[in-house]
């Protein structure tokens, strides 16, 4: 067994190719529109459509809420194209329990907005623009994610 097989038991090409495709999307948005395309802001900015609260009515949300929704719609379309072009059209499933998805999702949404970025905002756009605070954010969420995922693996059996 080579080192490559050990690090990437499912192969490595699709990871790199997928990452480059994501990067191409981010680059395209910058080249044509001049916009930085992190993903989590849409979960704050979209609330401004229905809520009057001052927090949601900041310029940084009002100015970008329309394109952020279109960007999210594009993500859905891209995933849909992948499903029908490469995955035989089958709907995907996950064996992660619903409570983990719901509670985990809540923490993801709350934390990403409090910390002003997620895996794409800090991880791709922040690191891509060489911002030290984003490196700090990435190291922080990687550390707590490693801890949580491994604690969970120890305390529960037969998961994922």
């Amino acid at each position: 067994m080579t080192l490559i097989d050990t690090l990437f038991p499912l192969g490595w090409q699709h990871y790199l190719l997928g990452g480059l495709t994501i990067g191409a999307g981010v680059a395209l948005l910058y080249l044509f529109n001049g916009w930085v395309g992190g993903m989590s802001t849409v979960f704050s900015s979209s609330w401004s459509f229905v809520l009057k609260r001052d927090f949601f009515r900041q310029d940084r949300f009002l100015n970008t809420r329309n394109w952020r929704l279109i960007y999210a719609l594009g993500v859905v379309l891209g995933a849909l194209v992948w499903r029908f072009a490469l995955a035989g059209g089958e709907a995907q499933h996950t064996s992660v329990p619903a409570w983990q998805l719901l509670l985990g999702g809540f923490l993801v949404g709350y934390g990403a907005r409090l910390g002003n970025g997620c895996t794409s905002g800090h991880g791709i756009c922040g690191l891509g623009s060489l911002q030290l605070p984003s490196l700090g954010a990435v190291l922080t969420f990687m550390a707590t994610a490693f801890m949580t995922a491994n604690l969970l693996a120890i305390t529960t059996k037969g998961l994922a």
Binding site: F32, G34, F43, W47, R83, S120
Partner: protein, 146 residues
């Protein structure tokens, strides 16, 4: 065209189409890289598969080229406006928020991009996570002081 008077946020039809295409590349890439499967993300977080490093590295590498290169090579974005920046700051909120984000990520194996992409892959299980993120964003906004 006077770029000083052009609002860099103005959403024209061509810009909307580019945004849609950029999002589609993002969603297709996430799916191709199997980041839309929480099991794969969790196996990375349990040190069983280092693929996520290649995904993030490949994406951040291209983003680096874009963010550093385009403003040097072009006076303005190809569809007008200006190359915007989004400065990150290092403070208590960034640390605490990122720590909470990581806990949720480690619990669910889902982050915002893949949660949205699940609507396209037809992974209805992940709608639980999407609902959680939507509510988490709301809870943050309702309790934020700024």
């Amino acid at each position: 065209m006077n770029t000083q008077t052009l609002n860099p946020h103005t959403l024209t039809l061509p810009k909307a189409l580019v945004t849609l295409l950029a999002g589609a590349l993002f969603g297709f890439g996430l799916s191709l890289a199997t980041m839309v499967q929480p099991e794969v993300v969790l196996s990375f977080l349990r040190f069983q598969d280092w693929g996520l490093m290649l995904v993030m590295g490949g994406a951040a590498g291209l983003a680096l080229l874009a963010y550093k290169g385009f403003p040097r090579w072009f006076a303005r974005p190809l569809l007008g406006g200006q190359f915007l920046t989004q400065p990150a700051s290092w403070n208590r909120q960034t640390v605490i928020g990122s720590a909470i984000f990581g806990m949720g990520w480690g619990l669910s194996g889902v982050c915002p991009g893949p949660a949205i992409a699940a609507l396209g892959t037809g992974n209805t299980d992940i709608l639980w996570a999407l609902a959680g993120i939507v509510l988490g964003g709301l809870a943050h906004g309702l309790t934020a002081r700024d």
